[in-house]
Structures are given as structure tokens and as C-alpha cells.
């Protein structure tokens, strides 16, 4: 990565959608929306709802499947100067491994992000990220079939993130992404209906940032592998906070939806912060919080 800033899966489509209004080649990496083996219809609508300081979503991982992705979106992505991180998922351990194998065979992929933490699907996703044994099985199965860097995207919905982070590290995950959205709900008091067709969804945006920073800090205490920190980043100050908590890189998520320039502003802002504080290498910031435990 040419800089420590990527975008969170599901908030940047497949890269091409934003290419008209931002120079995608300035990002550290492009992370695409979650893909499983076959096409996915997704959930009924409404799928998102705005809440104070953020939003809820329950998209249901609508997607084109591996073949559809390769045909429709890969030609644009492989032409980029920056690496593509492909977020993958399945409903069985075998499916995760098969998707990993397919992308390993494709050639030119930057890394695979194992989505074991989506809260909005009945099968797959968070069921793997909230059970330490299943998580270990998914990572191990993917590790067996690919030499691509593996990033495990951790669920926040666990009593302590440390054992999960360690399990992923032990099974050969090269990095962690911390964190996914938080299970949440909103109700329209006039109609008494949930604001999402799925009833519950995942909370993202600035509202979750302090919780995500704590999760990054806890995960960083537990493992030696690098962490991509994410959760409500709106500007460089937010990003630096994640780095100080222990992240090596960061991802901009929900902010892409309302301000597509955010990731580029974060990259420039981190540079300004480093110049101001006379920091030569961004890696010096990682884990530099003065917190004794």
C-alpha cells in the first residue's frame, strides 16, 4: 500500500462507481463489497436508515457472485495502480475456501478480506466471527488454498475480541480488520414499524468510533499482525486516533456515502499531521497511545 488508507467493504461498491468523482489511484487500496460463490439477491427494502451520528444498514450482501464479479468489475479493478482487497464470504467453511481458491487463481488480487462479521444475513457472516472454533476453521481453510494475504474482518459482537484476534493470527491470518458494524435497531414511532425491512441492521458512522477505537486497542494488545482500523472515520484526526490505538492502516466507510472525498482528505490530513509533529514514518504512530495497562 502506498499509504495507510483504504475504504471499508460495502461502502465503495466495486471501485468504478466513485472513479468519476475521485482519483481511486490515490488510495492505499480499494476494498470491494462482499462476494460469495453465487449471486446474492439481498434483503427487502428499506435497507438503510439514517440515525443520529450514523446509519443502520441491512443490505444482505447483494452481489454478483465470483463469476459475475470477475466479468463485470474485475476489468476495471485490475487496471488500477493500487491493490484491490476482495471481501469474501460463504455460508459454509468450504464455500469460504472455494471463493478464496477462485480469487487466488485469478491472479493480480491484492488481498482477501474474510467477512466473518456481517450481522445482516441469516447464514454465514457473523455466525463464523462470533464462534472462535468456526472462525479458526474459516481462516485455516482459506490459508490452505491461497498464498494471498488474508485479512480477517472481526465482529465487534463478542465479549472480548482478544481470543478471536489470536485465533485468526494462529491460523495464518496476515492482518485483521477491526471492526464491522454493530447490531442495532430503529423504529418509526408514527407507524410503529422498524425502519429496516430486516428489523435489525448494523450501526456505522461516527456514532461507533470510540467503541471501534477500543476494539482496535484491545486487538493490538493481543496480536502481532497488523490491524486495519475502521469505524466512523470522518477525517485525519479520527484516522490518527485509530493508528495510535494500534492500527497500521485505516479504512473510511460510511463517510464515503456522504462525502466521497473523505479517504483522500484523510490521506492528506495524515501527512499534514506528520509534518506538524515531525513524524518521519507513519508506522511510528501505530500503537503510540500513552496507555499503561
Amino acid at each position: 500500500m502506498q499509504n495507510p488508507v483504504t475504504v471499508a467493504s460495502g461502502t465503495f461498491g466495486y471501485g468504478a462507481e466513485y472513479a468519476q468523482i475521485i482519483d481511486v489511484n490515490l488510495l492505499g487500496a480499494v476494498t470491494v463489497k462482499g462476494i460469495r460463490l453465487n449471486p446474492v439477491l439481498g434483503n427487502a427494502t428499506p435497507r438503510t436508515a439514517e440515525v443520529t451520528g450514523g446509519m443502520l444498514n441491512a443490505i444482505g450482501l447483494q452481489g454478483p457472485g465470483v463469476d459475475g464479479f470477475i466479468k463485470k468489475y474485475w476489468p476495471f479493478l485490475k487496471g488500477l495502480k493500487v491493490p484491490t482487497i476482495i471481501n469474501i464470504w460463504g455460508t459454509t467453511v468450504e464455500e469460504y475456501a472455494e471463493v478464496a481458491r477462485r480469487f487466488d487463481a485469478l491472479g493480480g488480487v491484492g488481498a482477501l478480506e474474510l467477512n466473518v462479521s456481517c450481522p445482516n444475513i441469516k447464514e454465514g457472516g457473523a455466525q463464523f466471527g462470533t464462534d472462535c472454533k468456526l472462525l479458526a476453521q474459516v481462516v485455516a481453510a482459506c490459508r490452505k488454498v491461497t498464498t494471498l494475504p488474508l485479512i480477517t474482518k472481526m465482529s465487534p459482537n463478542v465479549p472480548s475480541i482478544a481470543p478471536f484476534a489470536k485465533a485468526a493470527e494462529n491460523e495464518g491470518s496476515d492482518a485483521l480488520a477491526v471492526t464491522n458494524s454493530f447490531p442495532a435497531m430503529a423504529i418509526d414511532i408514527h407507524t410503529r414499524k422498524p425502519k429496516l425491512a430486516n428489523i435489525t441492521g448494523g450501526l456505522t458512522g461516527p456514532a461507533i468510533k470510540p467503541i471501534a477505537v477500543k476494539l482496535v486497542w484491545e486487538a493490538a494488545q493481543a496480536v502481532k499482525i497488523p490491524i486495519i482500523g475502521m469505524g466512523g472515520i470522518q477525517n485525519a484526526d479520527d484516522a490518527v486516533e485509530f493508528l495510535m490505538a494500534g492500527a497500521t492502516a485505516v479504512a473510511v466507510g460510511t463517510a464515503n456515502f456522504y462525502e466521497p472525498q473523505t479517504a483522500l482528505q484523510v490521506i492528506a490530513g495524515i501527512r499534514d499531521f506528520m509534518a506538524q509533529k515531525k513524524i518521519a514514518d507513519v508506522r511510528e504512530i501505530t500503537g503510540s497511545v500513552l496507555a499503561k495497562k
Binding site: G13, Q20, I21, R47, T48, T52, Q62, A255, F257, P260
Partner: protein, 261 residues
């Protein structure tokens, strides 16, 4: 599609809770096609973060305008903004109406409330003049009649309470018009979803093509978040397509109403 910070030229009350917002956007304005929308970030809003999508009403020279109704906190804050203040706009967005070709179909426009504004550019750029049927609950819900009259269009207004035009639903005069069975006509509609569904059915009954501008809850506006999807025919089945990208305007025969909700 451009993302720009643009200045408000004016933001005046039209009728009741409707406002007309004019934005100076010299680079965006010439790109606008009928039926497209602008995704606006209302910068003074700090806790409600998402952009709001608005159909584009007029585009002339270096400016474009929006006719909106105050329906929630976003439009509430927007309605208090004044000339000289700025908003961020991503525009023009979406797949709009097919403008009739010279000598082609005669357009019949069907509008519900401020849906009328979203069809003004279509009327203005159509080589054939047609009829616009507009419906609303009360007199104040009937907007921009003068603009349509000024470009030589016939306006047939309907109100549910009979306070303006004739009393009844907008679909009544549409059915009466289609019963004349005149050749080469095409229906274009913008308004609330139940109205669009009814118009689509009527057009199908009379075997007249129809383009519907769908109004769905939106988030990113550019095709990444998959919030604003509707069921659209795909082979023997259907798939979710994005109102912000494949739409907002769809051929009514492609929409799979029974799969929605």
C-alpha cells in the same frame, strides 16, 4: 457526474411547505438531462449526515433549480438556508427520461405533487408538445403550472378536495384521454409510488409505453450502497436494480411490482 460546492442564488417559498432552490453550478447545469437528480449535502446539518436526493426542476445557463417540500429535518434545515450560503452537490445523477424524437410520440405527463417539477425539463426539451396531468390533495400541492403553460403545454389539474382544477384523482383524466385511442402516445410519470403503480397499470391496459420515475429511499446516490433498489425483470426472474443508477426512470413494463415489499 461532478461533485462540487455550489452557492445558493435563491431559496424562496413557493406555496405552503414547498420551496424553490436555485443553485449556481456552471459546470453541472449544462450536463443535466430530463429526469436526473442532484444529491445534496446540507452542510449546516451536523448530526444527520447523509445527502438528500432532489429531482432537478430547471437548468438554464449557469444554474439549476430544485422544487422541494419540507418533509423532515434535512429539508427543514435546507429551507432556512439563504442566498450566498453553500451546499455540496453531486450531480447530475441517474438515468432520466427518454426525450421524444421530432415527429415521434406525443408525451402525456402524469405528475403527483412536486413530481411535476421533475418533468419540466422533459416538457421543455420535447419537440412535441403534450398534455400534463397533475394531481394533488389541495390547491397548494399543484406546482409550476405557469412554467408548463409558458412553454405551450396544456395542464389538466386535479385536486382531491376540488379546491383547484377538477375534483378527483390524476388517473381519471389520463384514462379519459387514453380512451380516445389516438396513435403514437407515450406516458411519463413522476409522483408517489401508489400513483406510479396505477399509471403503469393504466398504460399497460391501453398498450401505451410508460416511463416511471421511481421515488425510493436513497443513501449514496451513486450506486455503491444498494439502498434504493427495486425489483426489475431479468430473464425469467427478477433482480434488484438501483434507482440511483439504472433509474430513477424505468420502463414500467420492467418493474416487478408484485415482488416489491
Amino acid at each position: 457526474m461532478l461533485e462540487q460546492t455550489v452557492q445558493i442564488i435563491s431559496n424562496e417559498r413557493d406555496t405552503d411547505s414547498y420551496f424553490r432552490l436555485v443553485l449556481r453550478a456552471p459546470e453541472i447545469a449544462p450536463l443535466i438531462q430530463p429526469g436526473q437528480f442532484a444529491h445534496v449535502r446540507i452542510l449546516p446539518m451536523k448530526d444527520a449526515l447523509l445527502r438528500r436526493p432532489f429531482s432537478i426542476f430547471q437548468a438554464t445557463g449557469d444554474a439549476f433549480s430544485i422544487l422541494y417540500k419540507t418533509v423532515g429535518k434535512g429539508t427543514e434545515v435546507l429551507s432556512r438556508m439563504r442566498a450566498g450560503q453553500e451546499v455540496s452537490a453531486i450531480a447530475p445523477l441517474g438515468h432520466g427520461f427518454t426525450v421524444p424524437k421530432a415527429g415521434g410520440e406525443t408525451p402525456l405527463l402524469v405528475a403527483g405533487g412536486y413530481g411535476m417539477a421533475a418533468m419540466f425539463l422533459l416538457a421543455q426539451r420535447s419537440p412535441q408538445k403534450g398534455i400534463v396531468f397533475v394531481g394533488g390533495r389541495r390547491r397548494v400541492d399543484i406546482l409550476c403550472e405557469q412554467e408548463f403553460a409558458a412553454i405551450g403545454w396544456e395542464v389538466r389539474a386535479m385536486t382531491e378536495d376540488g379546491s383547484h382544477g377538477e375534483k378527483g384523482l390524476v388517473t381519471h383524466p389520463l384514462i379519459a384521454e387514453l380512451q380516445k385511442r389516438l396513435p403514437d402516445r407515450k406516458v411519463f410519470a413522476c409522483g408517489p409510488t401508489p400513483m406510479l403503480k396505477a399509471v403503469g397499470k393504466i398504460a399497460e391496459d391501453f398498450n401505451v409505453p410508460a416511463e416511471l420515475s421511481m421515488d425510493e429511499h436513497m443513501c449514496c446516490g451513486v450506486g455503491t450502497c444498494l439502498t434504493c433498489v427495486i425489483p426489475v425483470k431479468a430473464g425469467d426472474s427478477w433482480e434488484y436494480q438501483r434507482t440511483c443508477t439504472e433509474g430513477p426512470v424505468f420502463d414500467s413494463r420492467e418493474i416487478v411490482w408484485e415482488a416489491a415489499k
